[in-house]
């Protein structure tokens, strides 16, 4: 069989009312690869996952998962994949153990095997003690972990995870990261993950596609993507928009590329550490000293900014590392 876990060609998904959620995307994911879709709200991540996991039919284009066509053989695909959708899918009146056993039985496990598998998974996600409580009483993090374990019951070859850590605290987020990293590295599970978090894509994925407004705007490993940006990124913020405008004029000869977003000037330069002092001196002389500045190697946000002209996350979140005061 092919060694491509997922092959997508020219996938288009249009909803009623002419909502063009996915507008012609193509990509491939190899067996055993950890692949991430990185994109903001409404980019089309969940829609893509729902098409790939047989919940939605493509409007046009072809999608093959584990060698089966989504339109022709959805049942074969369902046996090979595990899916954690963005919203957890849990019946709150059952206990964690009952849900896991039910899931195993629905995938054809015998009663006995289903019991064992449920216990194994409860141990794995550290929910053994709460296994016999109603899921309705679980905390958000416990639900997420249970939801994730539900999609592992039948030991799927390919895992689809739609924003698995959104809204979780760092403890639960790290627990899930460890979990899926182990699945990928030790069990060779192919992983397709979507996220809005740069760090998540950066830390986990072998390869990333950046998706925005239904289109893939950049693809590659985290390193490759960052290289496309250039060497260094300098962020300068100013009191007023006009100051940023003026600073852009003043500094234009030193930069390869720039972006201007409300009072913030982002410069892409070859040798940031060398240029920065001169730049600051020059701005001072012009009477427009920056109120804060930051020099860093490029992040995925810079990649995103460069290909879309917008930031992926709030500036405040990203600017935590390497702040240099003037």
């Amino acid at each position: 069989m092919s060694n491509q876990a997922i092959v997508v060609e020219d996938l288009v998904k249009t909803f009623k009312g002419d909502v063009k959620a996915v507008q012609g995307i193509s990509f491939e994911v190899e067996d055993g690869e950890f692949f991430a879709f990185l994109g903001p709200n409404g980019a089309g991540k969940s829609t893509t996952i729902q098409v790939l996991t047989t919940l939605l039919n493509p409007t046009s284009g072809s999608v093959t998962v584990s060698g089966f066509d989504v339109g022709k053989d959805p049942i074969s695909i369902r046996r090979e994949i595990g899916v954690a959708l963005q919203e957890t899918g849990i019946d709150p009146s059952l206990t964690g153990r009952e849900l896991l056993e039910m899931q195993a039985r629905l995938f054809g496990f015998s009663k006995h095997d289903a019991k064992n598998r449920a216990q194994e998974l409860l141990d794995l996600i550290h929910l053994a003690e709460d296994g016999d409580r109603k899921v309705g009483k679980y905390s958000g993090g416990m639900r997420r972990r249970l939801d994730l374990s539900l999609c592992l019951v039948h030991r799927p070859k390919i895992l689809f995870l739609d924003e698995p850590t959104t809204g979780l605290d760092p403890y639960n987020r790290n627990a899930i990261w460890d979990e899926i990293r182990t699945l990928n590295r030790e069990f060779g599970t192919t992983i397709f993950l979507t996220t809005q978090y740069l760090e998540e894509a950066d830390q986990l994925a072998d390869r990333i596609s950046i998706i925005n407004k239904g289109k893939i705007v950049a693809s590659g490993s985290s390193q490759q993507l960052k290289k496309t940006v250039g060497m260094d990124v300098i962020d300068l913020s100013f009191q007023q928009n006009e100051d940023a405008e003026k600073a852009k004029e003043v500094l234009s000869s030193w930069t390869k590329d720039y972006r201007l977003t409300n009072g913030e000037l982002t410069l892409y330069v070859d040798n940031g550490a060398y240029l920065l002092p001169d730049m600051v001196r020059k701005l001072d002389k012009e009477g427009i000293p920056p109120i804060s500045l930051n020099l860093a190697p490029p992040t995925l946000d810079d990649v995103f900014l460069q290909v879309t002209g917008e930031h992926l996350e709030e500036k405040a979140v990203i600017k935590q590392e390497g702040v240099v005061s003037p």
Partner: protein
């Protein structure tokens, strides 16, 4: 593997799950039983005197009102099937089930069968309370079985309606609102008095076209008169007709709900 045994296992699992959910949430079935028993006790206590009127032909009012209690319980019990599917849709469990190789039919059938189990237990309970209150079933044990069968048939029709409505609206409030047909169905009929005693012409007319009337008639015939063919045949025909309609409606809505476009 063989398709049929998978389908049976799937249906069994889905039914088991819904049954657990019903009995773990006493708020789902206790109020329903309460309302049924309330009808039985209160109407019997308050209205039984009117059975002295000749139009009742000497029937006990208890036997006359018992079908109202049973039918209202049946409607409530089977209406739960739709509610439970709406809950599945809202908490995402429906999608989780769709992502398994489980038969789509089993996913919808499970709550319906669970609703029927609930209905069966309720009907038996009401009959037992009736017997305890002094009910004398003219057609004997077989008559009790007929009452249960008619309740199940009518309940199935209502389950089809509630499931169809739930899957179409996918919304808890809307499908809750849908169960309000309960009132015209139960009360615009020969609910409290025989047809001959209904005053208003419009109510006479509505009770003629209300399928519930024929279910009441069928049940009353075995409870009060013994074995009579005509009311039972009418009741059976009416149930078959409304079941075909509502179950078709449910299947069409189900198809739409799992439709992937």
């Amino acid at each position: 593997m063989n398709q049929r045994s998978n389908f049976i296992i799937d249906t069994y699992l889905m039914t088991k799950r819904s049954t657990i959910a019903i009995f773990r949430n006493p708020f789902i079935f206790i109020p329903n039983i309460m309302i049924s028993l309330f009808f039985l006790l209160v109407y019997q206590a308050g209205l039984s005197g009117i059975s002295n009127i000749p139009a009742f032909e000497g029937a006990s009012y208890l036997a006359f009102i018992l079908p109202v209690s049973i039918v209202s319980g049946a409607i409530g019990g089977s209406g739960g099937a739709g509610q439970s599917l709406v809950r599945d849709l809202e908490n995402g469990y429906f999608s989780r089930l769709l992502l398994t190789p489980t038969s789509r039919v089993a996913i919808v059938l499970g709550p319906i069968i669970a609703g029927m189990i609930q209905l069966f237990i309720q009907t038996v309970l009401i009959l037992l309370v009736g017997l305890w209150m002094g009910l004398d079933i003219a057609a004997g044990f077989g008559g009790a079985v007929v009452v249960i069968l008619l309740a199940a048939g009518f309940g199935l029709a209502f389950a089809g309606y509630s499931v169809g409505f739930a899957l179409r609206t996918k919304d808890a409030q809307a499908s809750q609102a849908g169960t309000f047909v309960f009132f015209p169905l139960v009360f615009l009929s020969t609910t409290f008095v025989p047809y001959e005693l209904i005053e208003a012409d419009w109510l006479k007319f509505v009770s003629k076209i209300n399928p519930t009337t024929y279910v009441f008639d069928g049940m009353r015939s075995v409870l009060i008169n013994g074995w009579e063919a005509q009311p039972l045949i009418y009741a059976a025909i009416v149930i078959i007709i409304i079941c075909s309609i509502t179950i078709t409606f449910a299947s069409l809505s189900a198809k739409r709900a799992v439709n992937r476009d």
